[in-house]
Structure formats: C-alpha cells, structure tokens
Amino acid sequence: MKEETSEERHVERDSQLSAMFDGELSAAECELIARRLARDEALRSQWSRYAMVGAALRAERGVALHERVAFRVQAAIAQEVTYGEDVAATSTRTAAVVPGEVLRRAGTRRWSALAKPMFGAGIAASVAAASILMLRGQGDTEQPALLAAAPASENVVLASEAAPAPAAGTLASAAARRPSSGEPERYITPPSGQAGIASPARLANYVVAHSEYSGPLSRRMALLGLVGAEAANEDASTPADAEDSSAVAAGAPDGP
C-alpha cells in the first residue's frame, strides 16, 4: 500500500514535470517544481540526464525562454550566495520594467554564470535549470501574476540558501495542497492527455544511441526523426494534425 502510494506520487510528479516542460503549468506551479528540484538532488540528477537534450531538440519553434520563470528557477537552484543574489537582483529589475533589452542582458549574464559549473560539480543543477529555462512555453497566461509576485523570488533565493522552508506569497495556496506525509509539493496536472514518456530529451539520447546500432536505412530515419523532433512532439500531442496534411508523407503515423 505504502509502496503504491509512493509509486503514484512518482507518476504524478513526473507528469507535472512533463507538463511544466510542455508549458502547461502556471507560473506558481512551475516555481514549486523548481524549488523541489533545488532540494531534491536525486530528482535533479535524474533530470539533468536528459533535460538539456530535449531542451535543445524541442525549443526550436514555438517554445522560447520564459525569462521570468527562468529567473525563479535559476534562483531556486543556485547554491552560491553571490550568484543567487545576482539573479535575484536581476529578476526584480526585470519584473519591475520588463523591457526586452533588460531581458536580453540578463539572459547573457545568466548564461555566463551557468557556464562555470557546467563541467563541474554543479552540472546537475545547471542543466536542470537550463532545461527549464529553455522549455518553458511561450504562451503563458500567468505572466501578470508572476510579475505581481516578483518579490517572492527573493524569498525563494533566501529560502534555498538557508533551509528548504516554504516561502510566502504565491506559494501559500499550493502549500496548502501538500499532504502531511512529508512528501513535498503536489501540483495540479493539466489534462493534456500526454501521459507517455515524459522526457523527449532522454528519448533523444536513446534514439541517438539506437541509431548507432541500426542498419544504414533505419539509422538515417532515426536521426532524421531527431532533426524534426519538435514535430514529433506535436504529433504525439495532437495526432489529428497529421491527418490534415496533404503532403506526400502525410498519413496517419499511428496507423496499424
């Protein structure tokens, strides 16, 4: 019984992470997951394994950096105090003004900060952060709420430096949903219907590895699938789209 509950929790958490990567969670929910990532080393390293690949593969079209969420996540995960302060400051400034220029400059600074731990001990956190930065969906309707809650981002940074204590503000409602068992945040999983493998990134790793061992024909096919991986993801979520196409290779990929 206990085991099953834990299993269920895993599944739920997984689909939440997936939903976040698909840009389907609200900003507040994203932030909660980010904080969870910051605390849970195992979870973080699990995600670091494939997060970046998927980020790279999926983010070409329709998905862009979500700067504000990015800052939160970054702040939550950052362990170095100075680094955290830097991001927090930037974040606050961004939240107040939000001109594109500031965002871009802030982005540059963030990457250079990320570059340092990339090949060191901080790789897991950095990669996890970067993946979230990159995969956050563009059409997020929660932006105003996120902006309003800007001061909370500083709280998050402080909290992650001191202890994994819950922060105030936007987190309160989510915190109320927590079970008392000690398992941290639970989130609302959107009914996206995409309940398959949650990590296109790890899948990409697998496809690349697989391509090395398949025949020349299928190898090419497999790698080409990766070049158009974002298309694949869309097909997976909206299979109906494929049928609309009138191009040569159209047809139902899900055919028997």
Binding site: E3, S6, E7, H10, V11, D40, A42, L43, S45, Q46, S48, R49, Y50, M52, V53, A55, A56, E60, W111, L114, A115, M118, M134, A195, G196, I197, A198, S199, P200, L203, N205, Y206, V207, V208, A209, H210, E212, Y213, S214, G215, P216, L217, S218, R220, M221, L223, L224, G225, L226, V227, G228, A232, D235, A242, S245, A249, G251, P253, G255, P256
Partner: protein, 348 residues
C-alpha cells in the same frame, strides 16, 4: 543516291536486328539473376551506404513536414565520418567522427556530444538480409524506373505482419544508392519519405567538409562521461519473447550523458528494422518512473518499469512492437544480484 539510301536502310535494319538480339540476350541474363534480384539490390544498397563516400542533398518528408538536408558521408578504412546538416530552419547539424557524434543546435547555442560504447560494433556492421528477413518481409521488385534522370531499381519490402513497417526503395542502378526511400505501414500508406535531389560519390572528401558551419566556441558543450562505473557487474538483460523474426543482435553497456551507471543497451533486429532496449536502474524513491508510449519522428518508443529498472524500447517499428519488446525484458537469473536494492514489485 537511291542506292545509297537503300543501303542505309539495310544497315539500319540489320543494326536493329542485332540490337534486338542483344536485348534478348540481356533479358536472359537478367532473368537468371531475377530470382534473388530484389534481395541482391538491397544488399548492394547496404554495401554502398556503408562503404562509399557520398555527398547529397535530400528532402525529408514526415508527418506532413518537409525539410531539406545535406549529408556528407566518408569511409576511410574503419573510420566513418558523417555530417547531417539541415538546410532549413535553425541549421542543426549532426557530425559523427570516430566514436563521437556531435549534435549542434545553433538555435539553442548548445552542443551535445554522444559517445558510442567502446565495444560496440563497427558503424558499418549492419544486419544482413538473410532468409529470416524473407519470412517476415515480402521482398519484391527489381523493375526499372526512371527517377531524377537516373535508372533505378524499385524494391519493396512488404511486412508480413503488423510488427514492422515496410520500405519502398528506388535504388540507383549504377551506384546502388537509394535515391528515394519510403517508409510505409502495413496498409502501404507512406509514413516517411527521403528523396535525394543531388548525390555525388567523390573519391575523397576533405576533413574541412566535416566542420560545422557555425562557430560553436561560445556554445554550451555537453558531453557524456566517457567512462561508466564498472564496479558493479551489469545485469545481463534479455527478452523472454520477441515478435516473429526478431533476434538479439547486440548487448552492451552504454554511457549516456549524466548517467553515473552504465545503461544496458540491447539491440534486436529482424534484418531490416531494429529495436534498441535501454535498461537503467532506478534508484528507489528518486526517479519518477516513466511508463507509456512516445514517438520521435517515425520511430516509436515505449517505456516501462521492470524489477526496479527503467526499460525503454526505441525503434523504427510500429508502436505495438516496441511495447511488446519492452515488456518482455527480464534480467537473467545469473546476474540478478545487482538488483538487491530494488524490491521486485510482483504486483500486476
């Protein structure tokens, strides 16, 4: 004048006669080879794809999307280099040299470096089209067809069951290169198509052709760790049952980016299609288990959890095939001591 003219006609007639004779002789020769011909064309094609240098531009059509790519392929002894470059969109590139596959994502300013397992087979080592394949594919064709102003041989591999896709290939008669490739489902509907618009087979291809077109020095570079922890003997995984015609072709331990432990990698093939199964230990209470189907291009994938391990099957086969194979994976009895940490969940 008149005589001259008639003699020309005569000559023409006799020439036409000998030409007919030659045609008959050729038909006879071709007829002799026809019995095994489609299969031979497939073998010639596989050989060409893995042994020849080629540079080509092709369109890739899948799921209603069209993308133009350039491929540069070079074989020097045991050394295979390959560069796959998207000419559309962000200009992603995959460059394979030696045991490294480097993926450039200029749109994300990210470079991903994948390494092959050191004990993996040669890149050129491919599944052979044996008699097993004929049991599960109906191999037909060999007839000539004009394509891109070239003479090609059309070969179809029609799946005899629902566990694999079919192929239709237009194989260049002179070079045995597949100028056009279609991946079809059981009903013959085209799922994916590759058509070359140009293809060269140069004697030499300089190293400079395998340099990425972008300056990636400022990108983030991500590498898989070269060595994998080898203190624990990796469990020997196997599949209890396989779809008809499939057999295990390879088993290795693979380093994947971020994995501290080797990932068991099994390869199954029916001679044409192949399915990889990846087995990674799940640390209890850490990784969220992943269960269900997924898709990358026309490849299918299925993930499940078996004996505390994350098992994922990937291949250019229909979804039911990867699911079936993934669910059949078990650790061999001789190697189960490595599973001590994970309580084997027997619950159905």
């Amino acid at each position: 004048m008149v005589r001259d003219a008639s003699s020309i006609v005569t000559r023409r007639q006799s020439r036409g006669h000998s030409a007919r004779l030659a045609a008959v002789a050729m038909l006879l020769t071709v007829g002799v080879a026809l019995g095994a011909e489609p299969k031979e064309w497939l073998e010639r094609m596989n050989h060409a794809l893995t042994t020849r240098n080629y540079i080509g531009v092709f369109t890739h059509n899948q799921g209603g999307r069209v993308e133009t790519l350039r491929i540069i392929h070079r074989v020097r002894g045991r050394d295979v280099s390959e560069r796959l470059l998207s000419l559309d969109g962000a200009g992603r590139e995959f460059i394979r040299e030696g045991d490294e596959l480097v993926c450039y994502f200029p749109d994300k300013k990210t470079v991903l470096v994948e390494r092959r397992a050191p004990d993996g087979p040669l890149l050129g080592a491919l599944p052979t089209i044996g008699d097993d394949s004929a049991l599960v594919y109906e191999i037909r064709g060999g007839q000539r067809e004009r394509l891109l102003n070239r003479t090609t041989r059309v070969v179809t591999l029609h799946p005899r069951d629902q566990f694999r896709y079919g192929y239709k290939l237009w194989i260049d008669e002179e070079t045995a290169m597949p100028l056009k490739t279609q991946l079809c489902d059981k009903t013959g509907e085209v799922i994916e198509q590759i058509v070359f618009s140009t293809i060269d087979l140069p004697e030499r291809i300089p190293d400079s052709m395998f340099k990425p077109q972008m300056d990636a020095s400022t990108y983030r570079w991500l590498r898989a760790e070269r060595q994998v922890a080898s203190n624990a003997t990796p469990a020997l995984w196997e599949a209890m049952r396989l779809p008809p015609g499939f057999r295990m072709a390879n088993r290795s331990a693979q380093a994947l980016p971020g994995s501290s432990e080797p990932v068991a990698h099994l390869v199954f093939t029916d001679g044409i299609a192949s399915v990889s199964v990846f087995v990674e230990p799940r640390k209890p209470d850490s990784a969220p288990p992943q269960v269900g189907p997924a898709r990358v291009g026309s490849s299918s994938a299925f993930s499940t959890v078996i004996d505390g391990h994350q098992v994922t099957a990937v291949g250019e086969v229909p979804p039911n095939t990867v699911e079936l194979i993934a669910k059949q994976v078990k650790a061999s009895k001789t190697a189960t001591q490595g599973l001590g940490l994970a309580p084997p969940p027997q619950r159905k």
